[in-house]
Subunit: 461 residues, 4 copies
């Protein structure tokens, strides 16, 4: 803990920044910070200035001497950084609106990490993350890249496998939430961290097992608490869930599974129910992106208040609760070699034997000063293994299309994605999405020009 830290946040103008600041401030005793840099692009200047000023107020109110710097010059910020966190959104929320509404038009689930929306978010984000890595190679060769930008699993895999940045760790708030929920389901306080949990899978597609403090496996008991149709716990608790729909799983299916699914498995295990809800939101213009846009506008109004120097309650509605907890905890654990157990996206290297050796997986790991050391998981039973292998193969195809700009591969990815019903209609949908995203997809520029020449246009409804 000798060296004073320089931490850089790409996408610093995000509405999440106050939560991140709170996380750092809460760990001030474990993080000897010198500088916190908030970086954004020209389009995000206004938000950066608002939230950056607030971040400075928060640090001041906490009585800390950290320098909070705001900049549009990424390279200046990256110079000699120790940790780089990423929470940027290429194309801002308007891109997310398109990710959700264009698939909706074609009768599909639109979602920023799943389906066609998630694929396009990967297409926009992966080239940028690879650019950041190029800068880091030159300017911050020892820095850790802590990625929360979605789709976090694919972005992390691209950073490690394509970018070659081994010091990348991907993070997500989903396991933090379910760990709390599992403790509650077993009668512990949600702030307890007593039971041993082992997670494995992919980002937004993982499962876990739970053992009570006396060593008894309680996975099955928690399945009953959370998913039995008569469970009082389920009835009371599920309605609180934010980001994802509280529609419940087929209890019998989860019993057969024998391990605990994550919240995002709803998209795959009860697709038709989720689709109905998504199409309803599509019709009513209440998609997640549209809702979040409204929330964000309100948040930034709040952030403008020169007297606000703490994270406002309203931010918890935003959906990203626990992100800061995860990110700041991870940084503190690496910095202090504190051997905390966390669920992170990292290189597989055989942790899950059903998946390629060199892919990224999201697994329970011990966090050390040299990075994440995952617990071995091994293999899954067939009914979990198949969907897992399918998802990873789809992710690999998306990453390759994102890196190469190969149109045929993009169409192939569309037609094997479990949330995109395959068909001949996927080609016009892909074409429309490419054109709609033309400002953010340099790798597909030539194809997009050709499509436009052939009259393909983006038709928002």
């Amino acid at each position: 803990m000798s060296k004073k830290l320089k931490i850089v946040t790409i996408g610093g103008g995000s509405s999440y920044t106050p939560e991140l600041m709170e996380g750092f401030i809460d760990r001030a005793d474990k993080l000897d910070i010198k500088e916190l840099w908030l970086v954004d692009i020209e389009d995000g200047r206004e938000k950066l200035e608002i939230v950056g000023a607030m971040a400075q107020r928060m640090v001041k109110a906490a009585g800390l001497d950290w320098e909070v710097k705001l900049t549009l010059d990424r390279r200046e910020a990256l110079k000699d950084a120790d940790f780089v966190t990423t929470q940027f959104r290429v194309g801002l929320l308007d891109a997310r609106v398109r990710d959700e509404r264009i698939p909706g038009k074609y009768g599909l689930i639109g979602q920023e990490t799943n389906g066609a929306g998630g694929i396009f978010k990967a297409f926009r984000t992966i080239p940028v993350i690879l650019d950041i890595i190029k800068d880091m190679e030159e300017l911050a060769p020892n820095a850790w890249l802590i990625n929360f930008t979605n789709p976090a699993g694919m972005v992390t895999e691209a950073a490690i496998k394509v970018g070659g940045w081994k010091r990348t760790i991907g993070l997500c708030n989903v396991p933090v939430g379910s760990t709390k929920q599992n403790h509650e389901a077993m009668g512990y306080d949600e702030h307890d961290d007593k039971m041993f949990m082992k997670y494995a899978g992919l980002n937004h597609f993982h499962w876990h097992r739970v053992w009570d403090v006396d060593g008894t496996e309680v996975t099955d008991k928690i399945i009953d608490q959370l998913y039995h149709p008569e469970s009082e716990f389920a009835k009371n608790k599920l309605k609180e869930v934010k980001n994802i729909n509280p529609i419940n799983y087929n209890y019998e299916q989860v019993k057969d599974l024998g391990i605990l699914p994550c919240g995002y498995h709803r998209y795959y295990y009860i697709t038709r129910d989720m689709l109905e809800e998504n199409l309803e939101n599509y019709k009513n213009h209440t998609t997640r992106a549209e809702t979040v846009k409204q929330t964000e506008a309100e948040l930034f109004e709040l952030y403008k208040d020169p007297n606000l120097d703490y994270k406002p309650e309203q931010l918890t509605k935003r959906g990203g609760t626990h992100y800061s907890e995860a990110a700041c905890e991870l940084i503190a654990s690496i910095h202090n070699d504190s051997r905390t157990v966390m669920v992170v996206s990292t290189e597989n290297n055989g942790t899950i034997t059903d998946l390629p050796y060199d892919c990224a997986v999201e697994v329970s790991s011990v966090i050390t000063s040299h990075g994440a050391e995952p617990f071995n998981w091994g293999s899954f039973p067939p009914a979990a293994r198949g969907p897992l292998q399918m998802m990873k193969a789809m992710e690999e195809t998306v990453i390759e299309a994102a890196v190469t700009g190969d149109y045929n591969k993009a169409l192939h990815a569309f037609n094997i994605n479990p949330l995109i019903t395959s068909g001949t209609y996927t080609k016009p949908m892909l074409d429309e999405m490419l054109v709609a995203n033309k400002n953010y997809l340099p790798q597909f520029a030539e194809k997009i020009a050709e499509l436009e020449a052939n009259g393909v246009v983006y038709k928002p409804e």
Copy 2:
């Protein structure tokens, strides 16, 4: 070729039997047959007598001294058999009608090897095949089991892995047809067998590569012939395809794939188009099962003609063309150690490294007197590997549910099947299908009784 052969056909009352007979007769010089036994059950007695009489006429007309025996006593037939072929259909065509129409009611593709229909066909068939194996262990311990009963991949895997009958080989007519088609696409006669083809995958879910006689790989050239939107060959030929819809693939997707898909991949690669067509057939009562029922009725009328002693032209409309070619060729190849290259379902043993070692795969193999020796395939690129692994995992789950009668596993299989959109509605659909099939599912008897007690009924439309 010393010993005179005893060949037994379970499901001998099938309308396919004349084709099988023709296949044997065409190979009379390679098959030193003593007895051909056609076995059926009481419900199939009438058909067995009609088609059996016709089989006897065909043998006689060919001037052969083979004894064609008809029986309802399976054990009598199996005694000392050398080859046992299976072409039975548990529940007859009415079961197939239900397999196709119940899913249709829930807005799904109903198909006898895919989706909910295929799962139920596996549930009905696997216990019977395991029973046959028990008889064979006792009565015909050295016999080869040649299975064409669908879903052929799952039935073969159950026979080998659960039944422990290593001398099982599964067969399908699809590769025979595509081999012919590929030759035509390259300007050869369809009866040529010059090019080298290597198939790998699962039954109704395989891909292949093709090399011309000079060693040049022509896979990509054939892709263009078959799937390019402007291909004259495709326009002319696709309309001839029988069993499966001639709707064409997304050309760009197949180009990225780089290997040739099989006809059944349409269900997975252009699902929405196939679904639309299926639902149209559902509405018009022109599902495959309903059409086949009509065709079969006509065929049996023909078969009754005491002067008919050759395979009538109308049988080719039935859809199973080339089955006899495949089955009789396989039997002759084993009998003569003739080292023919055929595409068969057999134990994986690492042939496809992406799949479990002990599962069944459908792969190009050299047929020897000790069985199939598959050509090594290795691994697939991600975009093919993922769907393949997904299918096999689903098959494993179905087989396990079929063997154990585990309801939770059956529901799990439903919800991971790529042609069944998952959802909470799958439980009532599964329940209705269980009740509708109650006469053929002893392994689920207890659960079905419980469902009926709870008021679940089968409601045909």
Copy 3:
């Protein structure tokens, strides 16, 4: 920590027992012990009484109320046990003398865990451990089996894979020693446990990597400290090593290896040097077994002293230093769910992807109340992978021969063991060793009778 513990030690009459007692006493605050049972067989009665009385004095001197019980009735002891530790030696030290001297006669390394000696120790021990497990199934179904009986890797694998006892953990003192040594080599105190080490391989055949507290990997630096011919550290420290010879490795080979070998790798990496030393000891009757016999006799003389109530200094000469540290620490960690990192033999399950899924490996693990959770390792570079795979395959062959009593397999194991030069002479050597061990090899009884009938005799020199 609610329940009072019953701990059972099979082979309680061992000279190591005082060290084990010291380990328990040192952890009295973490182990709420009710009863400690020391079990031995009739042939070990005298030693059990001597060392058992001393154990009782030690507990009393520590002011603890634990009951130390001595018995020859294993089943009485096992009833409701929580932990069962095994430190027995079938055939006592005389068997070890034969394990070392017969191979010596044939010009080979004789060693109780390596070569022909290790194979015979496995042959004698595995049937007994499987017997103990049968008792445990009936009498102590929830107990943990903590095995230190050598060859610990093979015995652990047999317990888990053949005996089906999943709650088995194998232990060895070698990693404890090298962890200390690595700390010293980096300038830390040997009692520090600051650096992160990751071990993987098999018992007495593992490697490890080391990271300093700041996250820097120091494996290569430690290689230089320990194995560079000019290293002062090496010159001073290696001479202190007990059990195994301080002859140093080929420095260049270890540099290429890039990971730290264990002490026992000397048998494989500098075989000829080790062989020369072993043959010298053979000639001078100073083999390890003969030396230990002398030490043990002295120890038991000391133990008889009714005033001795603490572990005597002389025991550290015995060679098993740190065993108690490892065993007691493991028991306390399981009991308290304390998440200690330890190196243990456990099921592979893909931890080392180069080895069979279901074998036993020795790997760094987090100890929880439900057992060991290994850190994933993945694969080794070829030059380590090959010898590792060779050893495991040899172990599997030995285990199978030990369980079945298959003579051909035993001879096969002999001829692929890396420390037994293969040849036609191995058959007479195997025969002589079988006859020499006839009292302890019920599984080979028939073969031994046949050998004796053919005049094979054991000829000690």
Copy 4:
């Protein structure tokens, strides 16, 4: 068979050339040859001229219009070649003498494909084969590289994996011989090729299974014929074996193995016996290399005879019998797409699942116009699997040292080679061998200079 072939033989001055010529002449109806180029280096000019003239006489005597060209200009020869065969020996037979005698001095088996000798042959040969490939990329991009240069497995792997030349096939005469022997053992004529054999493993380290024409596996029966101590067949036949010693295996070990070993397994399965014999030859200056040198001198005397226009009987004593059969058959099979089954070294790609996907293996394959299509093998039982994995890992280490000139890796390879007893003495032995081979090891030039500066010299005895 449209195009007239240009076939190039690197190392055309070899004493084997007449056998190769005979092979081509015997297949004149299947090989439409235009030019046969015999290439050698300046040091081999005399031998090239002698044997080249004889080759021309042989072609003429056969009444063929093939042009037999002799050249020292490899690039001229390679231009537009269709097939390139390699039978060169870097350093000529004197290098082989050193490969066998230096290890002998250190008490080891010296052998040109095994142990230290084989490693040095790889070190000398691999850089040359990679050079040839560079020329081929430029001059003959579609040519097949047919390698018989030893160590054939490692050279083939280097060509495919390092050189990237996918159209490489390695060949060996050992399987040809054992196929004949197995037919004889079963009472067939040695020229029959009726039984089905499946080989798998590495060059000089493979096993096989055999099925009789009726499909019965006869592997075990042949084991008894060849290896049972009382077998009359074994007594009569083993004495005829050329290249390798007729000392017999441990029968019981082979019975446990359950598959047929190759002749070279003697070095690994009865090492001590082989070592004794080798050391006897070393002492008497009758090592294989020394014997072959004498034979070769005699052969070249014969070849000088301007009337000799056929392969002289004496060549069969040379040891390489069947090489031409294998090589010419392979070339004819590729040229004619004749689907012959042959045993060749080719890319693994999962054929043997126990070995790395990208390594070279020697396996039964169907030879097509696009190359070798191996039969799938799968995995071996542990007692074969371990030694196989060990050998491949050693080969990989040797190849990497051969390509990089990494001294540490070379020493590592020495110490894990199953025929080199590891030890501290291996370093001086490696050093002496490096210095002895200094003219042929450009990749180790710097290290050799350093060794010489430190006084290391080659001391022949």
